[in-house]
Symmetry: C2
Subunit: 367 residues, 2 copies
């Protein structure tokens, strides 16, 4: 896939031309990936291990990629697009995103948690540095593994059924029709006639500004000091959702406290993706943003995996040994969350604080 | 307490004079602290919370301080001392150290684990940054707290009984007699007549060399990278004690694997204390070493606390919720172990690689 750069020859192009070119390309990607994704889903009677890699199968992955980019562009450059159409399209794209993203997310979570458990309970291969993990030989490890595997396979199967049910639905056909129209002509409005650099860059700058403000609100100073133990001991950033007095002893308290702690980071992840895609429209892929995006994906996946471990520990009739292992796994995943925040804090200050300093449209990268 | 520095006027002193002065002072400290420690122990019918602070009561603390220093000096400067006497004295001092150190160690462990649990399961005081910990409101937290408190109180009471039983024993009286003799005259042998700087400094250098070699063998490069997850996932340094094949699923496997992983660090802690005390004899207190010593004390205490949490999780008939919380606490303490290693790795490279560069005896610090 190639981006649609705001090329040197396109520096006189209108905002509408640049945006339409990007949307046309992404809608084309959508339409090529859709039948492939449908075929792949139909070929898997359930959630099979043959679902390759950690990010779903090829067609689904390409489809998700296009959905995210079109949705992001419609959001950031809303001022150039017909409002009613853009809003409806975004809602339908969000629906498809939520539908499609679940199965690969469960698969990645399963891979993450089982790998963590195997690493914690395994021994290093001969000749490799290091000895066994802290759960080596623990009797609860195989049971905890089987429990997590069973619960995540069930969740994946359900997500797969939901996909199968919707992939031939009228709703999806209507969305595909929308994308077909988009390949032909994006429904633009007045400001689209302005010069691309005058119209699109300020809007990308707005997306960057929203990201910067959200990052400002993160407890970055704490996250940038290694081993503060904050992820386990003292959650930061969000206002506590658990009232200090009169709490009932419900395990859900801890979950909601962690969720409140993670929320601003998840919000930053969404804003960062928007900036990435907004810059793609302007022909600036932004590799630093890709790295930060991966860090925040890791943050989200570790946070979700931690919830799965905590939830599995509340399964009725498990043994204390199983629950103990799940406690270790939960803490381990929260440590991954903390590590991702640390990594984000280390990477962020190297980025430009805003887009204000940009001198018009960027030069073309591909010559 | 003042150290016995190798003063400017003492730069012509013999090794025997310098060492005897140090031993006399420390033996005096021993004899002053002993009746105080006996009185304190007798005044506590059991292991009461009135046992102040984290390091045992005043007399016991002073006694342990003197015992460690005399034992260290006898070890490092063995060549200057009558061998049979020095060896016997060290064995008896080790016995007393093991006897006395247990009760305050259990108290510190109890304080550490209960504080960790309270922090993990508590909420931040109003106005303080940060929200609740990851176990906020978890139903297993109060039960796990009560279990740890009960088990550590029992262990402390047992340690206290052992102290009470021995504090008036013939064995302790004999050791006190040894210390009384030491105040009068240290049993020196031939090399003690040489100049202090010629005789003592090479021996302190030998202790430093042993420390340096032991530190070289530590997986310091891994410890110096934050968030490698090694403490949980992949233990390093020691050869694994768990055979990769044919392991039986005993929880003790994980304990012994962790113990093997910690062993070289515990060994470095002992060697570092020896160097500290050896330098004190030469009038060089060495503040960097005190800081490293504290880091390794923290390493040891976190490792011991992790074992206690893992052991408590094997108590019969506990609930899965309790076991889950203990799993989180175990992982949290292993994270503290990793944090201490990280801190050690950050501090160590600033130290001189050896004592070879020293130009004779150090200048007096107190003017």
């Amino acid at each position: 896939m190639t981006d649609a750069p705001m090329t040197a020859s396109a520096s006189t192009a209108t905002a509408g031309e640049v945006l339409a070119r990007y949307l046309t390309e992404q809608a084309g990607n959508f339409l090529r990936a859709l039948p492939q994704a449908v075929g792949e889903a139909g070929a898997r009677p359930g959630a099979l291990p043959s679902l390759n890699g950690a990010s779903g199968s090829g067609g689904t992955q390409e489809l998700l990629r296009a959905v995210r980019r079109i949705g992001g562009a419609l959001h950031t450059y809303a001022a150039v697009l017909e409002p009613g159409w853009a809003q409806e399209s975004r809602a339908e794209l969000r629906w498809l995103l939520n539908l499609l993203a679940q199965e690969p997310a469960y698969q990645r979570r399963s891979a993450r948690l089982l790998a963590a458990l195997d690493s914690l309970s395994g021994v290093a291969p001969a000749g490799e540095a290091g000895g066994p993990g802290m759960l080596a030989g623990h009797p609860g490890a195989p049971k905890a593994r089987a429990l997590l595997d069973r619960q995540l396979t069930l969740a994946r199967t359900r997500a797969h059924s939901a996909v199968l049910q919707e992939l031939r639905s009228a709703r999806l056909h209507a969305l595909a029709d929308r994308m077909t129209l988009l390949v032909g002509e994006a429904p633009l409005v007045d400001p689209a006639g302005g010069r691309a650099e005058d119209v699109l860059l300020p809007q990308a700058g707005g997306a960057f500004g929203a990201l910067g403000s959200a990052v400002q609100a993160l407890p970055l100073r704490r996250a940038s000091a290694a081993y503060q133990g904050d992820a386990l001991h003292r959650l930061g950033g969000a206002a506590p959702q658990v009232p200090p007095q009169g709490r009932t002893a419900a395990a859900g308290d801890a979950d909601s406290a962690l969720a409140a702690d993670d929320a601003p980071w998840h919000r930053v992840r969404i804003l960062l993706k928007r900036v990435r895609y907004a810059l793609e429209v302007c022909g600036r892929p932004g590799s630093e943003l890709s790295e930060l995006d991966r860090v925040l994906d890791r943050h989200q996946e570790a946070a979700d995996a931690a919830v799965t471990a905590a939830t599995a520990a509340r399964t009725p009739r498990i043994t204390p040994a199983t629950a103990y292992v799940l406690g270790v796994v939960h803490a381990d995943q929260r440590l991954e969350v903390e590590a991702a925040r640390f990594a984000f804090g280390s990477l962020w200050p190297d980025l430009p604080p805003s887009l204000d300093g940009w001198e018009g449209p960027p030069a073309q990268r591909t010559g």
